[in-house]
């Protein structure tokens, strides 16, 4: 009975992975050390692939890798649950959410790196379509990137609360800035009303809601770019102009604002001619 021998053999080999899988799902293990387990796990998988008589086919590897991805996603969601992101935003600790999301992206990406490292070591015997393997991990990563984009936007826009512009138009421009900031806060509050877990990749509604958020932010960015350029033109000293740009710091990296300001950089350079 070949199937019986196969099942026993597969179990014997897979059992060597048990201590590592136990550590992987152990809630006591710190999330940001999860990637320490990737290389030993992949190493054992490659050994099993090479030595075992049956556990050496693409369908087997696909199931195992996909299930490891599931465990990593479960851990990541414990580390950074959707509701906790909204809480951090509300208590003005958005920067902490940014850092944790960056850690999450890093830990998840490292598993793909470990897989490719060992795929190379397997010397063309792992003929698997990568899409099928990482379909769930990739959509989780995409979601993390989206939410990191959201939290970064909040950190950058929060600067507006403290900016005051000088010059002849200073007062009216500062007023416009305040208006933009009020509308920005309203947009964030509206987004926070979402009544589902934003880290749940099964909920596709997120894509529509996030698109709406981004469209509103883009509009605010265009208005912001116009305030910055007006303020720039209003300044007549090079010192004032640099000070102005400096006060908008992180916001200047946002593509819409960057595009608008590119022309002004030429003006600045002209001073040095």
């Amino acid at each position: 009975m070949n199937s019986r021998i196969e099942a026993n053999d597969n179990f014997k080999y897979l059992n060597t992975l048990r201590p590592w899988f136990n550590k992987l799902v152990d809630s006591g293990k710190e999330f940001n050390t999860t990637h320490d387990l990737y290389l030993p796990i992949m190493h054992l998988i490659l050994l099993i692939w090479k030595r075992s008589k049956f556990y050496n086919t693409p369908p087997r590897l696909v199931v195992l890798i996909r299930e490891i991805c599931n465990a990593i996603i479960t851990k990541a969601r414990d580390f950074m649950p959707g509701p906790a992101i909204f809480q951090l935003i509300s208590s003005e600790e958005t920067y902490e959410a940014c850092e944790k999301l960056a850690t999450t992206i890093d830990v998840c990406t490292k598993f793909k790196d470990a897989y490719f490292e060992y795929k190379a070591k397997a010397e063309n015997t792992w003929k698997l379509t990568t899409n099928a393997l990482f379909v769930r991990l990739d959509s989780f990563l995409e979601r993390c990137h989206d939410i990191l984009h959201l939290t970064m936007t909040i950190v950058q826009f929060n600067k507006l609360a403290k900016i005051e512009l000088g010059g002849t138009k200073g007062k009216s421009l500062t007023e416009t800035l305040n208006q933009i900031f009020v509308e920005f806060k309203k947009t964030v509050e509206q987004f926070q009303q979402l009544n589902y877990d934003i880290m749940d990749i099964e909920i596709k509604q997120f894509d529509d809601d996030f698109y709406e958020f981004r469209s509103k932010i883009k509009e605010l960015e265009r208005r912001l770019a116009s305030v910055i350029t007006q303020g720039f033109d209003d300044c007549d000293t090079i010192h004032g102009r640099f000070k102005l740009l400096d006060s908008f710091e992180g916001l200047l990296n946002r593509p819409i604002i960057q595009d608008e300001l590119e022309k002004k950089h030429i003006v600045l350079l002209d001073f040095y001619k």
Binding site: S3, F11, V25, L64, N70
Partner: protein, 83 residues
């Protein structure tokens, strides 16, 4: 699934009483054995059909320990039939 005890496949024996009885006609005895064999074949086929992909298809995002448990169960199941 028929003949499943604690997740293990048990091949049910035909009624010893009927089979051993003098009063049961041979034709009926043959029929009893036949249907037992049909049941066993179905049971064994069901165990052999089990694939690890099923856990993923059920959509509750199982972790890698599920794969270990799958092969452990399948091995135990086939071992107990073999014995």
């Amino acid at each position: 699934m028929i003949g499943l005890i604690n997740g293990q496949t048990m091949l049910p024996m035909p009624s010893a009483k009927l089979v051993a009885s003098e009063s049961t006609p041979d034709k009926d005895k043959a029929h009893i054995f036949e249907s037992s064999i049909i049941t066993w074949t179905k049971q064994i086929k069901n165990v052999l059909k089990l694939e690890p992909e099923q856990a993923l298809k059920q959509g509750n995002d199982p972790g890698p320990l599920t794969e270990l448990e799958f092969w452990e169960k399948k091995a135990n199941n086939l071992n107990s039939i073999y014995e």
